[in-house]
Point group: C2
DNA sequence: TGGTAAGTGGAGACCCCCGTCCACTTGAGG
DNA sequence: CCTCAAGTGGACGGGGGTCTCCACTTACCA
């Protein structure tokens, strides 16, 4: 690949990440191209479809999520690990308007194994937090999906506001996850496939 | 107005409510017209703009919300009143995919006074619940907006799932609203104008 | 320094959506 | 029953989105 082409590709990707974060996935391809200082054709030569651009732009974020869970599994205090996971992922989500949509958009089975592993890791984290007695026993791993969906609802207000709101929402929820004693409605099996359309 | 015209108008409105609830506001006008068994022109004759149709289709729901708050203010137990408000409004929102968007869509100042009154009433309810000692002191009325935004994030999964998920989310949150003792991040002034674009 | 394949940009094909226009149809009063 | 204003449907204009095509330009290697 020629040097200028590589540079253009990188610039397109950076611009896409910025615009997706700022305005969500519905930003037009033409806007990305214009801001990156290239034509639409250049963009489509590197990313044959909008979906592929979205995917590429967000794989980094998804990797961070996996990393966050890995870190938490290494934390000797499973409750603190769980809190950190939820806090970090929610902040990531609140700071990036496209995150939820990119995650929700049915994306190829390419990542299906990764998702599976992440899910299992999170399940292990939940079990350990329960065993340590700090997480309420009726917490379900599906409640993570619940939190992510709810937190995703904050996208749509300006990013700084969404970030602050997310912090408060998560604080409220984590309090309930730890200390709740009331009987809850049953957990909802929010399988990812359900969320991914 | 001619009899057949009145009937067509009613059928369009009913269909619009159904489709908005089921698929959200992005359902095309043509789909509503087709399902109602009329042409597009008929639809536009009665509702000059899509926004006007949305407004008309949802005023009932908004009135129900106001009614829910009125009832709560008459409840001798302010805490129970507050819980009922949040539960009912959230269920309404979860059962109707268009609700959040209709509420969020900047709608005419026509309802601005209504919104103001609703907001004041809710503030009174919050104050009474705090005075009775059942609602945590650092609860902010803006937390209602927070709840509504979060709950709105559940739209996008099928309605029955969203309903169940909403119930569980609200249960988690209400527990924190009552019994929380941890120090929270500061409340976020989620003024309606901010949410409405 | 010139040849060439890789790279590029903009016009435009195609599609979907909102809202309008107009020739045709139909309900209801005299 | 007849008239005609009210009512109706479908074609169409305008705008905005994704993606393609093609004539032109440019980086790199000999």
């Amino acid at each position: 690949m020629r040097a200028d082409a590589r540079e253009n590709r990188a610039r397109v990707l950076a611009v896409a990440r910025d615009l997706f974060a700022e305005r969500g996935l519905e930003v037009p391809m033409a806007a990305i191209a214009r801001r990156a200082g290239v034509g639409v054709a250049t963009l489509y030569r590197r990313f044959p479809t909008k979906e592929s651009l979205v995917m590429e732009a967000f794989t980094e974020q998804f990797a961070i999520c996996q990393g966050v869970i890995d870190d938490a599994l290494r934390d000797p205090d499973p409750w603190r690990g769980l809190c950190t996971v939820i806090e970090k992922v929610c902040l990531l989500q609140a700071a990036d308007r496209g995150f939820t949509a990119a995650f929700t958009a049915s994306f190829p089975e390419l990542h299906s194994e990764v998702r599976h592993r992440t899910w299992e890791d999170f399940g292990a984290l939940v079990q350990r937090a329960k065993d340590s007695g700090q997480l309420r026993a009726d917490f379900s791993p599906h409640d993570l999906t619940l939190v992510l969906l709810a937190n995703g609802g904050l996208s749509g207000v300006p990013v700084e506001v969404a970030t602050a709101a997310s912090r408060r929402l998560v604080a409220y929820l984590l309090e309930s996850f730890r200390s709740g004693t009331d009987v809850l409605p049953p957990p909802v099996p929010l399988s990812l496939d359900l969320v991914l359309r």
